[in-house]
């Protein structure tokens, strides 16, 4: 489901690696669109979850010694697995599907469920299960002896006490937090008791053993692959769920063959998720760079959202190249072979003097791997040196990136960098009504230093109208 080529082709190891072919991107976008619908995504999520549990159960059962215990786990696994396959088939048949990937899954599963072998397996398992459910015994538990016998008609003591004490109870009873059995698996005494139960009522246990012997293997490999692939798609979609719910646009980018970059409603995925979780608004920006504009500088006040804006641009390229949805309302993006980053990293304490050297070495390795299809993002590069040095080094870096035909975005406090020829300047937007507030929005325009004044009472929401509005909320 991860690429053209049919069910079962696994690429789990390379999931966020940029795809080389535009059609591979489109293939995944189609699947994402199908799974983004609650009905379809829910069906596959349920299937993937259940199959994971079934596989874990079987693994555990394989280590068990007592047949009557082990076989029961296998029987339960069979039951859950087949029920999950049947509801997957049912759910996908009812779902409006458009993608090549999910349609292939639907056809595969529908054929399986319709087969006589599958139907008889389900019937056998259900019959065996019902027989076991009918087993009930009486245990007389002394201080050194347990006696198993058929059930008699004797009253439930808990019920008697509950009804006597009902008059003193108030509110909901809290469950009693006691441990009963210390082991997850059966202990030897329980196994001995179970052996007596088997002796008392042998038939249901014989039937269970026949049933599981007749229906191996429990999990078909192709179904396991479908579950794994679906889990990846759903994990990616889950990143975006709270953002969509908060009204943020999440789009599937078009690929720009000419290298242009256009995005609206762009935001930083990580920051957006945090702000939405805290119930706060997310500021979105636009970016538009023509095919020949291959070098941009982002300026603005500190803590004004520059790094997040740069991150958002990087995420846009990485996710688009992996065929994933992007944190933007709409986007046209070049298909990159990678995004290389120069982000300031906290330095090890034992190497204070070598910080610049380490950074330059990292950049050298980065430039060696840079191709015309690479995007380089630099965030306050060369912060360990003087501004003059940093400016010169940054120009060198951007020139080197340009010589390799790659595109570059630099976040910087060096406003000269934004004024260079051939560089597009993107600056933080200033609110003319209140220059003190940070807008966290960015637009193309010249870099200009921002003033900070304090209009405090208004800032704290203590004006008469604001106060009244808060009380009346």
């Amino acid at each position: 489901m991860l690429g053209p080529g049919g069910v079962g082709e696994s690429r789990l190891a390379v999931l966020l690696t940029p795809l080389a072919e535009p059609d591979a991107v489109v293939f995944r976008q189609e699947v994402f669109r199908d799974l983004a619908l609650d009905a379809t995504g829910g069906v596959l999520r349920q299937f993937a979850t259940t199959l994971g549990q079934v596989r874990a159960t079987l693994e555990r059962a394989g280590r068990m010694r007592h047949p009557a215990e082990r076989d029961r786990w296998v029987l339960d696994a069979l039951e859950r697995h087949d029920a999950a396959v049947a509801s997957l088939a049912e759910g996908l048949t009812a779902a409006p599907l458009a993608s090549r990937g999910v349609l292939a899954v639907r056809d595969h599963v529908a054929a399986l469920v319709a087969s006589p072998a599958f139907r008889s397996r389900r019937a056998d398992v259900a019959g065996a299960r019902a027989a076991l459910d009918g087993v009930a015994v009486r245990l007389r538990i002394g201080q050194q002896r347990v006696v198993v016998s058929p059930v008699r008609d004797e009253p439930d003591m808990a019920e008697e006490i509950r009804s006597t004490f009902a008059r003193i109870r108030e509110g909901d009873p809290a469950p009693l937090p006691v441990d009963t059995f210390s082991t997850l698996d059966m202990n030897p005494l329980e196994a001995q008791i179970l052996a007596r139960v088997v002796r008392l009522e042998p038939e249901p246990f014989a039937r269970m053993a026949c049933t599981i012997a007749a229906h191996q293997p429990v999990v078909h490999p192709a179904l396991a692959q479908i579950a794994d692939d679906a889990a990846w798609y759903l994990a990616v979609l889950d990143l975006f769920v709270p953002l969509r719910a908060a009204g943020l646009g999440v789009g599937y980018p078009a690929l720009a063959a000419d290298g242009r970059l256009v995005a609206t409603g762009l935001f930083d995925l990580a920051l957006g998720r945090r702000l939405v979780a805290e119930g706060r608004g997310v500021v979105r920006s636009e970016v538009a760079l023509a095919p020949h504009e291959r070098r941009a500088a982002i300026t603005g006040p500190s803590q004004g959202g520059r790094t997040s804006f740069a991150r958002a641009i990087g995420q846009l390229h990485v996710l688009a190249a992996a065929g994933c949805p992007v944190p933007a309302a709409s986007a046209t993006v070049p298909l990159v072979d990678g995004v290389a980053t120069v982000f300031d990293r906290p330095e090890r304490l034992d190497d204070p003097g070598g910080r610049l050297r380490t950074e330059l070495r990292r950049i050298r390795g980065l430039l060696e791997a840079t191709t015309p299809a690479t995007l380089v993002i630099a965030n306050e590069a060369f912060a360990s040196t003087t501004a003059e040095d940093a400016l010169a080094l940054s120009r060198r870096l951007l020139d080197a990136v340009g010589e390799r035909g790659a595109r570059a975005v630099a976040v910087t406090f060096l406003e000269e960098l934004a004024a260079d020829n051939g560089t597009v300047s993107i600056a933080a937007v200033v609110d003319p009504a209140d220059p003190t507030t940070r807008t966290y929005r960015f637009e193309r325009g010249p870099a200009d230093g921002l003033a900070h004044a304090q209009t405090l009472a208004a800032h704290y929401g203590l004006g008469a109208d604001a106060v009244r509005a808060r009380i009346a909320r």
Binding site: V137, I141, Q144, D156, L176, E190, V467
Partner: protein
């Protein structure tokens, strides 16, 4: 079983009550009040510090203001406690002892169901005895405890805890002492025995037969030898699993009874606190009156000879009361002399309102007030170690948090807000704040030195407003009287300087300063 001693519609579960607002405790000096109520009993101290500031509020999370009915319900229970303090104290003792006895047998965190069952049986026996004793005490003191709260509790206990119930309960508990367990089970996950139901085995003859021919010779017996420790442990686990449902019911029943006694203990603890406070205020020679809650449509306060009880408890008899009438006025502005009793009056009003909301008597000759939706205070803070801008920032921060908690009907006591700022800015910010609060439906008492603020509120009041002024007594003495009067331009700091500083320094301007200053 419900207690309903303090609220008509709920029992007090102490942990579920919100912590008191720390600003309220600090600025109104409530710790003194709590200490007088506790009378040295830590349990009472813990209860009153949560119950008093909360008031008789309603709603699932105490979000609704006290109703007049709820206040009257509480007032009559408090009146019982003031009239019969020994009886209420005996009830408190009985409940507290029942809970403490339980603690001794219960011990740590038991995880084995059979041990839980054995302990629960022990505990339940004692609790049933205490329950009978409580019923009997309330029955015999029926005449003295005439409030709806105590009458209701007495009736419920008389109805529900009859002798037949106590006998049946004890019989059932005795049955559970049999070491031979009989249970039924089915097959659970992995075919483990599960779904245990403990059964009452038939008569003694059937049980004897069970013992003699345990399995009818069909090889269905498992014997465990004492020295096989693993098997004995497994048998213990099996027994625990079999008794778990019954242990759950018994422990749950014990827990319910303990919870009942905890609630009864905490509710009567509050009443014990009310009786303690009443006798302390009486000993300080103060009048107390059960206040009259005004209908929700009213605003304002009417009081005669109202005093700050915390100050009275501290200085013993040196305080004189004020008369106040702000009925119909959502805004009260207090101006006037430094040391003229403005803060004291503000505290007295705040505390009296809290006492009213909690159904308690008020230290005044007469007190009637609307019932506010909570009391919020803003008093000056040191904001130490900050520069001017930092101090202002910190105060604005506090004010923003305060505004976030105001609701229509909240009583907001502002004591010299924005006094760290110059008069112009402070007046502007505070004026906006006060007008916003009034427009939002809050009730505001404002003490201020900012003349511009008082003058602007006087010139264009946002609502009917009462202006009070700390009076300047004859000859510069301070009688702590605050009377209706519009704001004056000047304050009386120079007077105070003359009285407090120069007067105490005596004739010689430099006496007491030693030889450091040139004569």
């Amino acid at each position: 079983m419900r207690t309903r001693v303090l609220f008509p519609d709920r029992d007090v579960v102490l942990d579920a009550l919100p912590e008191p607002d720390p600003d309220l405790v600090l600025d109104l000096e409530l710790e003194r009040l709590f200490a007088a109520m506790a009378g040295g009993d830590e349990r009472v101290a813990g209860v009153v510090r949560r119950v008093l500031p909360l008031g008789v509020r309603g709603g699932p999370a105490f979000e609704d203001p006290p109703t007049v009915e709820a206040i009257r319900y509480r007032q009559s229970a408090v009146a019982d406690a003031l009239a019969a303090p020994a009886t209420v104290a005996a009830l408190y003792r009985l409940a507290a002892d029942a809970v403490d006895a339980e603690r001794r047998v219960w011990g740590g965190a038991l995880r084995n169901a059979e041990l839980v069952l054995r302990r629960s049986l022990e505990v339940l026996g004692g609790l049933l005895d205490a329950l009978g004793a409580t019923r009997d005490l309330l029955g015999s003191e029926r005449e003295r405890l005439g409030s709806a709260a105590f009458r209701g509790l007495a009736d419920r206990l008389a109805d529900e805890i009859d002798d037949a119930f106590l006998a049946e309960a004890r019989t059932q508990l005795a049955r559970l002492a049999d070491p031979d367990l009989v249970a039924t089970s089915g097959l659970g996950p992995g075919n483990r025995a599960s779904g245990f139901v403990l059964r009452r085995a038939g008569d003694s003859r059937a049980r004897l037969r069970d013992r003699i021919r345990p399995d009818g010779g069909r090889g269905l017996t498992v014997d465990v030898t004492l020295h096989d420790q693993n098997a004995m442990n497994a048998l213990g686990e099996l027994r625990a699993a079999a008794v778990a449902p019954v242990a759950g019911v018994v422990a749950e029943s014990a827990a319910h009874l303990i919870a009942f006694f905890e609630r009864l203990r905490d509710e009567t603890a509050f009443l014990v606190g009310c009786a303690n406070l009443d006798s302390a205020l009486g000993a300080a020679g103060l009048a107390r009156v059960m206040p009259e809650p005004l209908a929700p449509t009213e605003t304002g306060i009417r009081a005669e000879a109202i005093v700050d009880p915390c100050l009275a408890l501290a200085v013993r008899g040196l305080v004189s009361g004020n008369a106040v009438d702000t009925v119909g006025c959502p805004l009260t502005v207090v101006t006037g002399a430094n040391g003229g009793g403005k803060s004291t009056l503000l505290r007295a009003i705040g505390i009296a309102t809290l006492l009213l909301s909690a159904g308690m008597p008020v230290p005044a000759a007469e007190f009637a007030s609307c019932v506010p939706d909570g009391v919020l205070v803003h008093f000056p803070r040191g904001e130490s170690g900050r520069d001017d801008e930092g101090r202002l920032d910190a105060e604005l921060h506090r004010l923003r948090a305060l505004v976030g908690r105001v609701r229509p009907g909240t009583l907001v006591l502002l004591n010299e807000p924005l006094s760290n700022v110059n008069e112009r800015d402070g007046s502007a910010i505070a004026g906006e704040l006060v007008r916003g609060l009034i427009a939002g439906g809050a009730e505001v008492w404002l003490v201020t030195h900012h003349h511009e603020l008082a003058a602007s509120l006087h010139a264009t009041p946002p609502a009917p407003t009462r202006f009070l002024r700390a009076a300047r007594g004859e000859g510069g003495s301070r009688p702590y009287l605050v009377t209706p009067a519009p704001p004056l331009v000047t304050s009386f700091g120079t007077d105070l300087w003359a009285g407090e500083v120069e007067a105490r320094l005596g004739g010689a301007p430099h006496s007491g300063l030693g030889g450091e200053r040139p004569a």
